[in-house]
């Protein structure tokens, strides 16, 4: 029998808050962290907006990702030394590659994704060396899925997922060149949506076998009930329009959770604000949930698209959402297509149940789905 997987600690650092509580309050108040970029010149790009953490240290020899992770450590509770570590990042300290190319003296090791796992493991005094998972914008969701799978199968008792990504000129210029950026702050699921807005952030999620968590008196913030990962096998940068990969991932998650689609109370969607992603997601949700109208939200209109950190931040926030019984507003959304009616809202909406589906998709045609259940609290 599979072991129950509890989440006993969850934190997030974003441009909209130094911690999870601040982020939650800011979101419910309808605030957005998306603002004109001052970190680098955006003169040649198709957007001038991103959600940057204002006072992040972007100078000196180290990548700004070290400062970001440093802020995360301060918010985290104690992590057992025998915890297995998965870090998740798409581009780690790629800001140092930019600066290396500009002949600045920087610590080049920060550019390598494997270095992040090493740094986090060392900082937290973990016995086992960490592993980084890089799977585009589904990186941290897949890390949570892997962690939950290990605990459920009895291969680990504690798994920490630590994820982080930065707003850098490297990434900003790339999405601009691809034409995937919205010239204005992103509008997830809106019929006038025209692209994504980048954001930066980090999150940590501590997964623990329920028996051990009870023994150690850890809080029960939520349970990872199900998970699924599937590839579109369609295109590297474009999602499959019929949402086949996402549907497959959600079906796997439901099967593992032992739930029917009717049991899902709300969906934290990837909701990037690009025409193709949001269409693909709504198509998949139509297939999975039929005419049923359940709350669907995206937080990327408020904190931007945090790439590899998105899934982790959304899990952390999803736990808050379940405990408060509220789906946060989808900022930037005003009026969508027919299949957004009674689903997506620019206002907070009550969640009529205890099960949240959280989904992420990314370059390479990868899709991940997680099903979270409400916890019993402290």
């Amino acid at each position: 029998m599979a072991a129950e997987v509890w989440i006993t600690d969850a934190t997030a650092v974003t441009a909209l808050g130094r911690n999870l509580d601040e982020l939650w309050q800011q979101l419910l108040s309808g605030h957005s962290a998306i603002a004109p970029v001052e970190r680098f010149s955006v003169k040649g790009y198709k957007s001038r907006f991103a959600a940057c953490i204002e006072d992040l240290n972007c100078s000196g020899a180290f990548s700004a990702i070290r400062d970001l992770l440093g802020r995360l450590y301060k918010e985290m509770g104690p992590v057992p030394a025998d915890t297995r570590l998965y870090t998740a990042t798409t581009k780690a300290g790629i800001d140092n590659l930019e600066r290396m190319r500009r002949n600045e003296s920087v610590d080049i090791s920060d550019i390598l994704v494997g270095e992040i796992a090493k740094q986090v493991g060392r900082q937290l005094g973990l016995i086992c060396p960490g592993t980084n998972i890089s799977t585009a914008c589904a990186s941290s969701a897949i890390a949570v899925a892997k962690g939950a799978a290990l605990i459920a199968a009895g291969r680990a008792e504690c798994v920490l997922v630590c994820c982080a990504d930065l707003v850098t000129e490297f990434v900003f210029s790339g999405f601009s060149a691809l034409g995937a950026m919205s010239p204005n702050p992103s509008m997830p699921f809106d019929r006038l949506r025209s692209g994504l807005t980048l954001g930066e952030g980090a999150a940590s999620v501590l997964l623990m076998k329920a028996e051990r968590a009870k023994r150690e008196g850890r809080p029960h913030l939520g349970t990872v009930l199900g998970w699924g990962v599937a590839s579109d096998a369609f295109h590297v940068t474009a999602p499959a329009p019929d949402g086949r990969g996402l549907s497959a991932a959600v079906k796997q998650a439901l099967k593992r959770a032992g739930l029917e689609p009717e049991a899902i109370s709300a969906i934290c969607a990837h909701g990037t604000g690009t025409v193709h992603n949001d269409h693909m997601e709504l198509t998949a949700f139509d297939q999975l949930f039929g005419d049923r109208r359940l709350p669907v939200y995206s937080i990327k209109g408020a904190i931007g698209h945090t790439l590899g950190a998105a899934g982790g931040i959304e899990v952390a926030l999803g736990l808050k959402s379940l405990s408060e019984g509220l789906a946060p507003p989808t900022l930037g959304f005003s009026k969508g297509e027919d299949n957004t009616v009674d689903r997506v809202s620019s206002q907070p909406v009550a969640i009529p149940g205890n099960h949240l589906l959280s989904t992420n998709s990314g370059f390479g045609g990868i899709n991940a789905a997680l099903i979270l259940a409400k916890g019993r609290g402290a």
């Binding site: 040649g44 581009k91 590297v236």
Partner: protein
């Protein structure tokens, strides 16, 4: 294993049928997709009619760092006005997994892992764990690296190249496996009951099986 120079990879050397996207890929992706293709050919699984729930897990140290450096060269002039979308599309190390998934109809999970140490076995370990966790029953596990870029000051002594093995939990009767893999509780990997210390040792052990050495 002694490191040689990685030859340039032509489509025709690996794929018999036209593959338009191949020439558009970055070098890292061409290397990875070629190795995936060769592994599937070797297993007799390269031809398909309907998509298959097969995963791909790859271990890499430098990932697409060469492409990152090439891409940023296009950003620097004119404030990014000429940044290359074609190169940017390959600045994620998992992009070649998407290419391989589309080419070979593989719909299972695909992810890139990087961990400390140079054994290259973390992808095998991950696949065996995933199978134990019932996440999938069939997958490719491999290594892929172009080596350290010439101007990059951290050389982790990674041999350039790529190799994949096909791992099946319940092999089809038509397949002829090289042997069986086992993951011990201490995370050690055994191939045909012999402990394997790195990826090249696994390949050598497979070749030994093939030639009956």
């Amino acid at each position: 294993m002694v490191s040689g120079k990685l030859p340039s990879i032509s489509r025709k050397a690996v794929f018999e049928t036209p593959y338009l996207r191949f020439s558009r890929m970055d070098e890292f992706s061409r290397l990875g997709v070629s190795a995936v293709g060769l592994a599937l050919q070797d297993a007799g699984l390269d031809e398909w009619t309907s998509k298959r729930e097969v995963g791909i897990v790859v271990n890499t140290v430098y990932g697409c760092l060469h492409t990152d450096l090439d891409y940023f060269e296009t950003v620097t002039p004119e404030n990014g006005a000429f940044a290359s979308p074609a190169l940017f599309s390959y600045t994620l190390p998992n992009c070649f997994l998407g290419e391989a998934a589309a080419r070979f109809g593989l719909t299972g999970p695909g992810y890139v892992i990087t961990e400390q140490g140079n054994s290259g076995l973390s992808s095998i370990r991950a696949v065996l764990e995933d199978m134990d966790c019932e996440d999938f029953e069939s997958a490719l596990a491999g290594i892929c690296d172009l080596g350290c870029p010439p101007e990059f000051p951290i050389d982790a002594n990674i041999i350039p190249g790529a190799a994949f093995v096909v791992v099946e939990k319940k092999p089809d009767m038509g397949l002829k496996p090289y042997g069986s893999l086992h993951l011990s509780p201490a995370q050690e990997i055994f191939f045909n009951k012999t402990r394997i210390l790195d990826f090249s040792a696994l390949i050598k052990a497979c070749v030994k099986q093939l030639w009956g050495l």
